[in-house]
Each structure stands twice: as structure tokens, then as C-alpha cells.
Symmetry: C2
Subunit: 229 residues, 2 copies
């Protein structure tokens, strides 16, 4: 399916927003949209010609799997995010849809050509790469020293911020995009610990669980306090 940039939900914020209409048109003929259902994989670690993509809607996870089959989630990708390891001969990580997701995919060669031909594109991807780097370092900081409780509080705080449209305020209600197991894989904890600590955060009045996936913020200030940042 060909791209329809005119109706693209992230045309203002994605990397291609910096292109001129003509340049974007050229990109559009090279790209294809693709829909992934929950659990479907965009590419796997080791793939030699892994695609690149901009996420239009939904959510993805970037994860590594060690020799005993344990998954570690390294990053989440939100709409307007860019996926693809540009200068690597093969992908180092798996990329999987967390929810039904729409993507705008390109062959790696097309992106590499765009970087050469459109300097603005290279700058936009540099900006995005630096942002990804910062996000990954924040996660690293979190998983390094903090207690299970603090990690979970910080993650919930981040999700509340991500679920709100105004980036400076928190959503009071939101759905967890991850299962307990995935939260554990992201924070370096077990399913059981995640479940227990969520219960404790509820007991102390910071949050309220609403069904399996729903979370309501009861005391954002307390949550922030617990997260230790």
C-alpha cells in the first residue's frame, strides 16, 4: 500500500516533517505502510536487511533475548518514533508490536540514500537518535540502583506522562501498554515482584488498579517521591 502523507497522523512530528513537499513525495513512493497486530514482529535480532520505519500509531517494544530465553525490553517506541539501526549490517534487537500498530516502512537503503540526499533528514534523525539515547540512559539509571518499588513508581510516572497529550502534565487514568511480565522484563524484576509492588503502591494510596491493565493516579506527588527523582 502506498503512503498517504496527507492523512498521516504524525506528519508534523515524525522525522519526515522536515522534508520539503517534493522530497517527501519522493520518500513516499519508496515507503509502504504496514499494520502489525499485538505480538507481531517487525524484525528480529540478526536480520540482515531489517526495515526502517516511522511509527504512526500504536506502540512497539525493542528487546533483546539472552541465551536462556529471557527477554529484556530495552526501549518502547511511541508514535512518530523512528525504528532502525542505520549503520549496522544486521539488527541487534527484536522489534515487536505491543498493541495494533501502523507503521510507515522503508528499505534501509532508501533511508541511507535519503540521509545522503537530504541533509535535513540526517539532522532530524540525529535529533531523534539523541533523544533515544537519553531515554535509554534514563532507563539505565532507573534499573541500576533503585529498589523495585522505586523502579515501578518511576515507570508508572513515565506512562502517566506519556498517556497525557500535554507533555508537562500527567494523565489521571491510563492503560498499561505492557503485561506484568513485560514490565518485569523492562525493569529487571519478576512477574511476582511487579504484582506485589503494584499492590503495595495501591495500599499506600499512590495509585489504584482498575481491572488488569488500568491505573488511576491517586497521589502523583507520592508516586514521584517514591520513585526517588
Amino acid at each position: 500500500m502506498n503512503l498517504a502523507c496527507a492523512t498521516c497522523p504524525v506528519k508534523e512530528s515524525a522525522a519526515c516533517a522536515v522534508l520539503t513537499p517534493e522530497e517527501r513525495e519522493a520518500m513516499a513512493t519508496a515507503g509502504r505502510t504496514r499494520v502489525l497486530k499485538r505480538g507481531e514482529m517487525l524484525f528480529a535480532a540478526g536480520d540482515e536487511d531489517a526495515a526502517c520505519a516511522t511509527l504512526l500509531s500504536g506502540a512497539l517494544k525493542v528487546s533483546a533475548v539472552d541465551i536462556d530465553g529471557n527477554e529484556q525490553i530495552l526501549a518502547l517506541v511511541h508514535p512518530a518514533g523512528f525504528i532502525g539501526e542505520l549503520f549496522a549490517p544486521f539488527a541487534h534487537h527484536d522489534v515487536v508490536a505491543l498493541t495494533e500498530s501502523r507503521l510507515c516502512t522503508f528499505a534501509k537503503a532508501d533511508i541511507e540514500r535519503a540521509i545522503e540526499d537530504y541533509p535535513a533528514m540526517a539532522r532530524a534523525l540525529l535529533r531523534r537518535s539523541q533523544a533515544d539515547l537519553l531515554a535509554t540512559r534514563n532507563l539505565l539509571e532507573l534499573t541500576g540502583h533503585a529498589s523495585a518499588e522505586a523502579r515501578l513508581a518511576a515507570l508508572l510516572h513515565d506512562f502517566a506522562a506519556a498517556a497525557s497529550d500535554s507533555s508537562c502534565h500527567l494523565a489521571q487514568h491510563f492503560e498499561l501498554p505492557l503485561t506484568r511480565g513485560e514490565i518485569g522484563n523492562m525493569l529487571g524484576l519478576t512477574i511476582e515482584t511487579v504484582s506485589r509492588k503494584l499492590g503495595e503502591l495501591e495500599d499506600m494510596g499512590a495509585i489504584k488498579r482498575e481491572g488488569k491493565r488500568g491505573i488511576a493516579l491517586r497521589n502523583p506527588e507520592l508516586l514521584h517521591e517514591i520513585s526517588g527523582r
Copy 2:
């Protein structure tokens, strides 16, 4: 002190290697070399006009300090590495010299201008940023699930690889660039655990400690095994 690119030890591999001689000359007039002694700081988290820099020799650490004063090392910077958060209004992390280090520093504005004016520079920094991202994710993967022993084994393996000139082979002897405390801050462990596990790795014949900082590889295969990768 003005830059002397002709004698630069990383002129082949640093970001500015992609510039033409004229472009490089223009950069050289904007930059200054600087020497940091062990423990000296290039910039601190929160600095509004943190410099950017290419590391010529020595080693740096990028670290965050949480509210109770605990340091967490997020990355190490080796020669030819680039330091600087390009699109952030202020620095998010501290950057400190681990050993006496020589740097080639630029005002952030100069780098931003270079990115605009020299597309090759933007591409080079993108490449470097992606490499940094991968390195940070590798560290995240390591600290996520692995046991203290596995983390330490993997770190030693990485250091052995970094200390060797041929990137595909390991150095049989090398000096740790970090104190026990810094290793702990990097891997999310305490000084005591690092010390104990080093002792255990020695007992099982994987390594041998030589003085405070020296390490000799006894059984690289075993080390790799223990690291779980």
C-alpha cells in the same frame, strides 16, 4: 590553545575525519584543546552551555547522580568519542575524566552551525550517536537480569576487548580504568560485591588480579561462559 589537527591522534577516526581540509580548518579555529586530570569535570548535569568535545586520549565517564548522592555510570567514552547533548537546552549528566585526558572542545553553537553547514558532519554524528545508543543498550541488557558474577565477567570481557588494538581479539593483560566503586556504580553493585566476585572469578581460574588495577586473563572462554552471552 589552538587546534593542531595535523598531529591529532584520532584524525582518522573522529567525527571531523569526514570534513574536507578547508572545512576542518574552519572548525579548528573555533575549537580549543583542553586537558583534564583524573577526577576533573568537563561539565555537570544542569549546565546550560555545556561544551561539546571529541576525546583525543584518555577516558571519560558519563554519570548521573540521584537525590541521595549515589552515582550511576551510564557510559564510558574512549578516544575519538564525541561528547555533547546536541539538542538539549542543558546537560542531563556529568562528564568526568577517569584518567588524564586530552579533548578538543567546541561551543555547542559551533557544533550546531557545523551540522547545518556540513552535511557530512551531521551524518558522522548520527553514526556515532547510533553507536552510543547501541553501547548504552548493551549495558542496559547487562544490568537488567544478569547476576553480579555475570555482569562483572561481561565487563571484564569488554575491557579486555577495548584494551586490545585489534578489535576482534582480547588483551591478555590490562589495567582497569575504573576503581571498584566505579565498577559498582556502573553495574549496579556495591564495592564489596565487586571485590568479592573478583576474588571468586580469580578462584575459579578465569582471571588473575595483578596489583590493584591490573587484570590478567587466565581463561577467556570461561569468562565468556560466565558472562552468559
